[in-house]
């Protein structure tokens, strides 16, 4: 509530300021929107960076404890400064471009990857009505998300092709195949949620899960179980994490599409990848776990919704990390047949079930 009210208050004050200066109303609205976008983008970058830093540290700690060791311990108390120091190290490293590499593609690849990951944060609802790109979200929220996540494929292909390395190329092509294949089950699962909420806006989807209690969240409705399962499996494929981390496939392709990258460009790939994990966990939270809604129901007006959002997304992030360090990796053809032969038909089935459920007035 606090965040929402503050946000709306600032927005209205700014609009008032512009109309006070004699701007027509719709111009004031537009200028306010642009200012909100700019400030919001800066905040989003900040959140992304902090998220990536925290996530990398968490991953290494979680990995350590799963593997009966401690993880980073020396840099700062219990290793807290490890990622920051890693980022500094990456920044001061020499930027190596392989001989014969396509310089433009080599440079644009990571930049595009980072930009595209950043774009997706525009429609994340932090609290009731607190969205950076409100206009985008109100009209095409889910569609925008899917479109943007499709563009990461281009960035990866750029990285792989521009490296002048056959192994990177194999990794990039695998990534392209994988991400494209898993977009479809993801989209079908999302469509189920959109059908139930009757809106493409992420804010409205969370609003549709508002009810008396925890049980009105999407995950607790039986016809949402199949879409949730599909989305979670597709989620692993979209962020290229085990068991679907073929694009990276450390033991086969050394680093896949980011083998030949060092320094800042690698940092861009790396940080965007981890920010993606958080982003997609937030998307799952918004779609199925009630977003910023408190599990205690409307009586809870003390804890800001954004904290609940991060708490729930955090659990999912832990789950992603847990699975990564446990399961082996699937082979590309097995991964593709899983997607096309199992998940896509399951997605259509889920869509049918949801349609029936919605028609029956649920």
């Amino acid at each position: 509530m606090l965040l929402r009210d503050t946000f709306n208050a600032i927005r209205q004050w700014t609009e008032g300021l512009f109309t006070g200066w004699g701007m027509p109303d719709d111009w004031a609205f537009l200028t306010t929107e642009i200012l909100v976008w700019i400030v919001g983008v800066v905040c989003a970058i900040a959140v992304m960076m902090v998220a990536a830093l925290v996530l990398v540290y968490l991953e290494r700690k979680v990995a350590g404890y799963i593997q009966s060791r401690l993880g980073p311990m020396r840099v700062g108390p219990i290793g807290l400064f490890q990622t920051a120091m890693d980022a500094v190290k990456l920044l001061v490293k020499e930027d190596i471009v392989p001989q014969g590499a396509d310089k433009v593609l080599h440079t644009v690849g990571p930049a595009l990857f980072f930009t595209v990951s950043l774009m997706a944060w525009l429609v994340v609802p932090w609290d009731d009505g607190v969205v950076i790109g409100r206009v985008v979200d109100q009209n095409i929220g889910v569609l925008y998300l899917m479109g943007v996540s499709g563009m990461t494929v281009i960035a990866i292909l750029m990285g792989g092709w521009g490296s002048n390395n056959k192994w990177s190329l194999i990794g990039a092509v695998r990534a392209g195949a994988q991400m494209l294949s898993y977009e479809i089950p993801m989209l079908l699962a999302l469509l189920c949620v959109v059908l139930a909420a009757e809106s493409l806006s992420l804010g409205d989807i969370v609003g549709a899960q508002r009810g008396g209690s925890l049980l009105s969240w999407n995950i607790f409705k039986p016809w949402m179980w199949l879409p949730a399962l599909l989305f979670i499996i597709a989620m692993f494929a979209e962020i290229a994490r085990q068991p679907f981390d073929l694009p990276e496939a450390e033991s086969e392709l050394v680093g896949g599409y980011h083998t030949e990258y060092s320094g800042m460009k690698f940092a861009l790939f790396f940080l965007a990848e981890y920010a993606n994990i958080l982003l997609i966990s937030i998307v799952v939270t918004v779609m199925f776990l009630g977003g910023w809604l408190s599990p205690l129901g409307p009586i809870d007006s003390v804890i800001p919704g954004v904290l609940w959002l991060f708490a729930k997304a955090g659990l999912l992030v832990f789950f992603v990390l847990w699975v990564r360090w446990t399961l082996p990796r699937m082979r590309p053809d097995q991964m593709m047949s899983l997607s096309w032969k199992l998940l896509v038909p399951a997605g259509f089935l889920a869509l049918a079930i949801t349609t029936v459920a919605v028609m029956l007035g649920a």
């Binding site: 990995a63 799963i66 593997q67 009966s68 060791r69 056959k166 192994w167 194999i170 695998r174 085990q242 068991p243 981390d245 073929l246 496939a249 450390e250 033991s251 086969e252 050394v254 360090w325 446990t326 399961l327 082996p328 990796r329 699937m330 082979r331 590309p332 053809d333 097995q334």
Partner: protein, 370 residues
């Protein structure tokens, strides 16, 4: 013009170079790929060649024992075992009963350590990184045992001509028994993490197959051969050292694929525990070493002594000309012959299967390149 070019694909010649995270050492494999399918594979070895056999001609018999460790450096005791038995055969020396028991205990502990290393690399190559650290945690216990007995963690120089370097520490047997009690639960854990894992089985079942006839023709041995349905274990067939006194089974599977090799190694660890239990129970007292002259000059002759190492048949062919140095020291490495059918294993599979094929053979480049 345009429609002869459209849709035309080319083969990709790619180098799975000597520096690669998954080639188990410095092995180079030239792959011809059609997309993701391997058309042909050409292994290229020699990157780790250290002229150990030539060195064997320049060192005295005792001086060469530490070099044998370095052939298959993950199962050092078994290498020493082959060489030391060969020299003892040339000399006509019989070691004491206690020494044989100690040698068998060490060899079986080493077999478990080597198979744990196989688990490590198999897990890493298929993407299950956690298995690596869990196996190393258990391997540390074994290495601690070795360190207490021999003073070294990896390359022991423990077995000597005529005996062993020193007797076992007084608490060694108790600690081995502790390990025997502790380990089966761990094996169950690895079972759950790897062998029963659906994703892992999908990566291993039906992959990298070789027919039984081909395996025998290439001279494969060890778990690779026993996974093709051939019941061939030198511990049973020759019954060298004191192995005939122990009751144990030889696991044989007949699906000839990577999963069968994996299962053979899992079961072998269980059987090694059995042998260890019997050996530690029956360990006789007495002297560990026999008197062997300071300067060893065996009668002219040739001997080929072979033992069952974790990777297969380890053989040592020695020719003596009566002097204090071997005339010829020839090592029969199990990994060299296991590696031969690699093109057949990889052909028709995917790129992702190449690493599984190499890992399932459990080769050791030190052995291959000598």
């Amino acid at each position: 013009m345009s429609d002869t070019y459209a849709g035309q694909t080319d083969e990709l010649l790619i180098n799975m170079g000597p520096q690669h995270p998954s080639t188990h050492g410095v092995l180079r494999v030239l792959l011809r790929l059609d997309g993701e399918i391997v058309l042909d594979a050409d292994p290229d070895i020699g990157y780790l060649h250290s002229s150990l056999e030539k060195i064997g001609e320049a060192k005295t018999w005792q001086q060469f024992v530490p070099y044998t460790d370095r052939f298959d450096y993950l199962s050092a005791i078994n290498n020493e075992f082959a060489f030391v038995r060969a020299v003892e055969k040339l000399l006509g020396v019989r070691v004491t009963e206690r020494c044989e028991y100690i040698r068998v205990i060490m060899a079986e502990l080493q077999r478990i350590a080597s198979h744990l290393m196989y688990f490590t690399s198999m897990g890493l190559d298929t993407g299950a990184v956690t298995v690596y650290l869990h196996c190393f945690r258990d391997r540390e216990r074994l290495i601690d045992l070795f360190e207490d007995a021999t003073g070294q963690r990896l390359l022991y120089h423990y077995l000597r001509i005529g005996g062993v370097r020193n007797d076992l520490p007084h608490d060694f047997v108790a600690r081995v028994r502790d390990f025997i009690d502790y380990f089966p639960a761990r094996l169950q854990e690895y079972d759950n993490l790897l062998t029963r894992n659906r994703v892992f089985r999908g990566r291993m079942e039906g992959i990298a197959t070789i027919s039984r006839e081909e395996a025998v023709r290439h001279g494969m041995s060890g778990p690779c051969l026993r996974a093709c349905g051939v019941d061939h274990d030198l511990r049973k067939i020759i019954g060298y050292s004191v192995y005939p006194q122990f009751e144990f089974e030889v696991p044989v599977y007949d699906t000839c694929d990577a999963m069968a090799r994996h299962l053979v190694r899992c079961d072998e660890m269980v059987q090694s525990l059995r042998i260890l239990k019997q050996a530690t129970d029956k360990l006789p007292d007495g002297e560990t070493n026999v008197k062997v002259p300071r300067v060893i000059k065996p009668e002219p002759g040739a001997v080929y002594e072979r033992i069952e190492g974790p990777r297969g048949e380890v053989g040592c062919y020695l020719i003596s000309d009566g002097s204090d140095k071997p005339l010829r020291m020839r090592w029969r490495p199990p990994s060299y012959f296991n590696l031969q059918p690699l093109p057949q294993l990889m052909r028709g599979g995917y790129v992702a299967d190449t690493v599984v094929a190499i890992a399932s053979l459990d080769i050791m480049l030190g052995d291959i390149d000598k």
